[in-house]
């Protein structure tokens, strides 16, 4: 080790990665178009991407896609806030009380792998055909990874950082907020990302199953009408919800913890 500062990451080239990503998407669509047009893929199962693109205007104009997009986005946002708050608090409690952790960590891990979407009739009975059925479905399915990753992040905090806190006589609350939480933040964010993925899948899946709500409901409608191009276009809006949440999460992480 030398006593010289390491150079900062240089900003040039920051646009190269997004450009390559965009080019990869365009390339995939072009390949799909070719494969459908030469008959390698059945156009009655997968419509050509150009038809999907062409149907965007139609679903925006005729299917109220933006209000449905906002509806699904709102469900995801509420579920995301709930699973972040309760997931971090749950992980914290389980780390703090070892008996609790030993008693239920395996069950929480099992829940993370379970097809919780099958529980939708239960929530449908409790909350009816309302937004809350989807929100709670998203919350329940996204909660386990946040809890598990919070425990993992806190447990992985380097002992020396905890000892620094002890040497400064930090209270238990200060030890958590000033050392354990920021140290665990990157791992907690991995959990929140996973939780949001699970939440979005289950929210859209439940909308699809109960024919109610936002984009999942629209996809079910379009699929029933065998409007495949419209169905795929609506799926693109689901992906857009996911992309927006990931961008927002990344910004939040950089704001809370500017460096790794």
């Amino acid at each position: 080790m030398t006593d010289a500062a390491a150079p900062r990451r240089s900003p040039p080239g920051r646009f190269i990665a997004p450009a390559v990503g965009f080019a990869a998407i365009v390339g995939t669509f072009a390949l799909g178009e070719v494969l459908v047009r030469i008959g390698a893929i059945d156009r009655y199962i997968v419509p050509p991407p150009s038809e999907v693109l062409g149907s965007f205007y139609r679903i925006v104009a005729e299917e109220r896609v933006f209000s449905r997009f906002l509806y699904t986005g709102s469900e995801c946002l509420i579920a995301g806030v709930l699973l972040t708050l309760f997931g971090i608090a749950g992980g914290m409690l389980m780390h703090r009380f070892k008996l609790l952790q030993q008693a239920i960590e395996t069950w929480v891990a099992a829940l993370a792998a379970a097809p919780l979407v099958l529980m939708y009739p239960l929530f449908l009975v409790i909350f009816g055909r309302s937004m809350w059925t989807m929100v709670i479905m998203g919350f329940v399915s996204g909660l386990p990874p946040v809890i598990l990753k919070t425990i993992e992040g806190i447990a992985a905090t380097r002992k020396v950082l905890i000892n620094v806190g002890r040497s400064f006589k930090l209270s238990a609350g200060q030890q958590f907020w000033k050392i354990l939480f920021p140290a665990a933040l990157p791992t907690i964010f991995v959990g929140v990302r996973l939780g949001l993925i699970f939440a979005l899948i289950n929210i859209v899946g439940t909308e699809f199953l109960i024919n109610f709500g936002g984009l999942g409901h629209l996809i079910a409608d379009l699929a029933e009408r065998y409007d495949l191009a419209g169905t795929y276009a609506a799926i693109c809006f689901v992906i857009l919800v996911s992309v927006l949440f990931f961008i927002a999460l990344e910004k939040a992480e950089r704001w809370l913890r500017p460096v790794d």
């Binding site: 080790m1 500062a5 380097r158 000892n163 620094v164 040497s167 400064f168 460096v259």
Partner: protein
Amino acid sequence: MMSAQPKADGAILTVDDIVVRYDTPEGPITAVDNVSFKVRPGEFLSVIGPSGCGKSTLFNVIGGLLSHHAGIVNVAGETISGPHQSIGMVFQEESTFPWRTVIDNVAFPLELIGMGRAQRAERARHFINLVGLEGFENRYPGELSGGMRQRVSLARTLASEPKILLMDEPFAALDEQTRLLLGDKVLQIQQQLKQTTLLITHNITEAVQMSDRILVMTYRPGKTKRIVDIDLPRPRTSEIVTSDAFGHYVAQIWNDLREEASRGMKDEEAHVLHHEGPSS
């Protein structure tokens, strides 16, 4: 924060009859055995010993991080039973907060006492300048070298204005040249602040370069073998390592340590043989 006053006997830190035992699968081990010493205000005392002699255990006892020990640690007349505001600790491992900039790392103890943002930034800058890191205030530890990060840790501890600076092999992970230069920096700061300092180390050169006295420990169980007064002129710099007197002290301490280090090595070999058997 600066409430601790020296005892009537002049000592600011009294370590009295410390014994630490651990239960291991092979039976109880005494890591530290009846270690006692006193440190006067402004004094630089080093504790040196071979690996496994209980130096770091002693560091944790004095810093209040280890509670299952016998004996007393007394800071300016007050017996302590946990971390104490008069003792500032610098750890062997890299201990800066990677999510805070240099200035926010150094301001950490000031933030804890509720000092206002502007005032603590000014105080933090003072200590950053003291360790020679001006211009790096807004960098993150990940952008700094190992030596610079240790200086951030030192500045953070100094910012809490401890009566006693307690350091556990703070330069152990650094190369020899950086270690000597940082030794100069610590000496300069210690002399400037008249900072009472207790350094735990296994490096003889480092100990002689910086100390007023050196406590030599035996290999397990860690006992006081000898306390050596280092009568070298101050202010000192790393240039002192070329003097005859310096060489004399290094040789003297190595004579004391050689036997202990050999015992440690044989003990480790026996341990390996006991667990893994001789190689065929």
